[in-house]
Symmetry: C2
């Protein structure tokens, strides 16, 4: 582990031009530097370094191309009104990454060290955090298997990297309800599978359902893989429903991704003393509640969109309008509070914010 | 499609030294050249070329690293006693690749063209087919998504490649029964998932069960993901059982890979008028058959091992010896016939063999 401690820095000679805040596209432009560290059985994780963002040299036989051993995370850095950079619950992402690593037979990372490396990188790239309202710097930590070997077995070599991409506001004109379709044929994962892990294969498996969905469907709502009966989650969000005054979200069951936003939503609701239940929720129960006029709100929760109200749910030919297609009161309050905390506009009573200090990179600049 | 027709050739200046036939390790050494072709929405599949085997340059944001959109195939080139190179049912592999492509939202390849390219490549690399008994040249066609973009959506750019690796005999001292454990916790895939496709995520998902299996377990036997009751397949083989004089193999159900060897085994058994059933087979039925002394043989079937007799099946604490741990008569006959046909030692009444002509590469050499 000690080898990890020193982060070598190799700064680029000239900085790229940054996109204007109103031209930002999700995940297409990348900051000047990235963090990289390598793993080998002999050395463990080693050679931690911040280097210019540049292409990788990969053998055609690199295991990640063939056997999909990869994990990733997604979080954001935000700028406060005072111009300070901050992160939202980043330790949860590195903890989840190790959970994913375990499922995929990838060696664990030192979570505290990864956070330290991330803070250095973001401090160095602070200029890349866009300033306009709702914009942020998207952070993508990921691990890929790099051993040049075609046998089906855990790789003995890996690369851990963190890349950064400035992203625009998810909703151009404020928060807007979306249309979601319940998927009856394709399955994302099943208990005993990889659903709890953030690994590439889950997302590859999900593409076909989206392709098959009708026009105007923003994302699909997955049912459990065993009985195709219980609600799991949306493409890249966990999901919440307000039924008869109570908020309900599917309980973590081994196949649902444990979202950081999901956890924050539950904590906020409890803080506000709004009843919230984590339990099994079948699509039939949801349909019934809608028929009886008791389905009052529905929304997704995830890092990208924060809170995404669901205005219509499509299921087996039924088109269920929810809250007249409008954003509900709880969704709005959650969105405002979460973004308020993330952007440092309201105080954070939960200890969720991790500030980036100028000193996180000053030591590092001195070593160059 | 027309753009595919011309295959550009860039030969390497000097050839690598080949490993000795008795030093071959699976999937670690690669032939001098590889086949590559690119895909873009604007051009379709284009720039087909045979080039020196060399590393790829990949953006850190390449979609394959994040969202696992990849497919692959596995087959072999064999040398006959006359010194001719030949393939075994390669058209089935490219057909299956397109089936995988469809599930993973990857654009289809021209199967006939891919086969033509493969024949050219193998003809050019004929010297890389090892000569010792049971050795062959392993062929790995694969497709990876290459668009530098972090959005969850089908990539708009891909690379199709074929790489070649000389491999030793699977069984050093002839065909040898292995020990297999029934997996009760982890699941490889489920109906509606990606089990029918040869995609990286399935193999990444499978590693954990192998890691958790007891000493001496060669591979795990997967049960269906819904009820964890019905037998599906082994790690990289389909599976057959002889019960009370009849051969049984799980029917293709949407989550089992449709093996080329599986299909060939079924055809051979029918040809020999040995009764063979493709149907649902529960682990309880199998256990019952064993208790009644009716489980006469068990074996896996796949390209790597051809036929792999199963000498012991471990399930929930039971250790079931099969055929006293010896290779059964049917397994032996299938192994001898399949390898006999593949290596050109016995005639092929089924039209399974595709010879590689010297001319497959002569035209190509002329164009250099
Ligand atoms: C499948 C899936 N579920 C849920 C989420 C929400 O998780 P988080 O709130 O940590 O972003 C994501 C996105 O990260 C996801 O990909
Ligand atoms: C999961 C799986 N099942 C079955 C097989 C056997 O297929 P084939 O006979 O085409 O090699 C393989 C190997 O390719 C495999 O990976």
């Amino acid at each position: 582990m000690e080898k990890e401690r020193a982060i070598q820095i190799d700064l680029c000679s000239s900085r790229k031009e940054k996109p204007r805040d109103d031209e930002l596209e999700f995940g297409k432009t990348f900051a000047d530097h990235m963090f990289v560290m390598d793993y080998s059985e002999a050395q463990g994780w080693h050679d931690a370094r911040i280097v210019p963002y540049e292409p990788l040299t990969m053998e055609p036989s690199s295991m990640v191309f063939h056997y999909g051993q990869s994990v990733f995370e997604g979080m954001k850095a935000y700028l406060t009104p005072e111009g300070d950079a901050q992160l939202f619950r980043p330790e949860r992402n590195f903890k989840r990454m190790n959970h994913s690593n375990d499922r995929l037979c990838i060696p664990p990372i030192d979570e505290a060290f990864a956070l330290k490396a991330l803070k250095q990188l973001v401090s160095l790239e602070k200029e890349w955090i866009p300033k306009a309202m709702g914009t942020s710097l998207y952070i993508r930590p990921f691990i890929i298997s790099t051993e040049p070997f075609l046998g089906v077995a855990p790789s003995r070599y890996y690369k851990f990297m963190i890349i950064l991409s400035p992203v625009g506001a998810y909703y151009e004109e404020g928060i807007n309800p979306i249309k979601i379709a319940v998927e009856n044929d394709y399955v994302r994962t099943v208990k005993g599978g990889t659903g709890e892990a953030k690994t590439g294969g889950n997302y590859a498996a999900s593409l076909k359902a989206q392709e098959a969905a009708e026009e105007g469907i923003a994302q699909v709502l997955w049912l459990d893989g065993m009985e195709k009966k219980y609600i799991e989650e949306v493409g890249s969000m966990n999901v919440f429903f307000k039924i008869d005054g109570k908020v309900v979200t599917p309980a973590l069951n081994g196949s649902i991704l444990e979202g950081v936003t999901r956890d924050s939503v539950i904590e906020l609701l409890k803080h506000w003393e709004i009843p919230v239940d984590e339990r099994k929720l079948s699509i039939d129960e949801l349909y019934q509640a809608h028929q009886e006029g008791k389905l009052e709100e529905a929304f997704g929760a995830g890092t990208a969109a924060v809170i995404s109200p669901i205005g219509q749910l499509v299921w087996s030919g039924h088109h269920l309008d929810i809250n007249q297609g409008e954003t509900g009161a709880i969704a709005k309050q959650l969105y405002n509070t979460l973004t308020g905390i993330q952007y440092g506009e309201i105080i954070d009573p939960f200890g969720w914010i991790v500030p980036i200090e100028e000193t996180d990179s000053s030591s590092l600049k001195a070593t160059v």
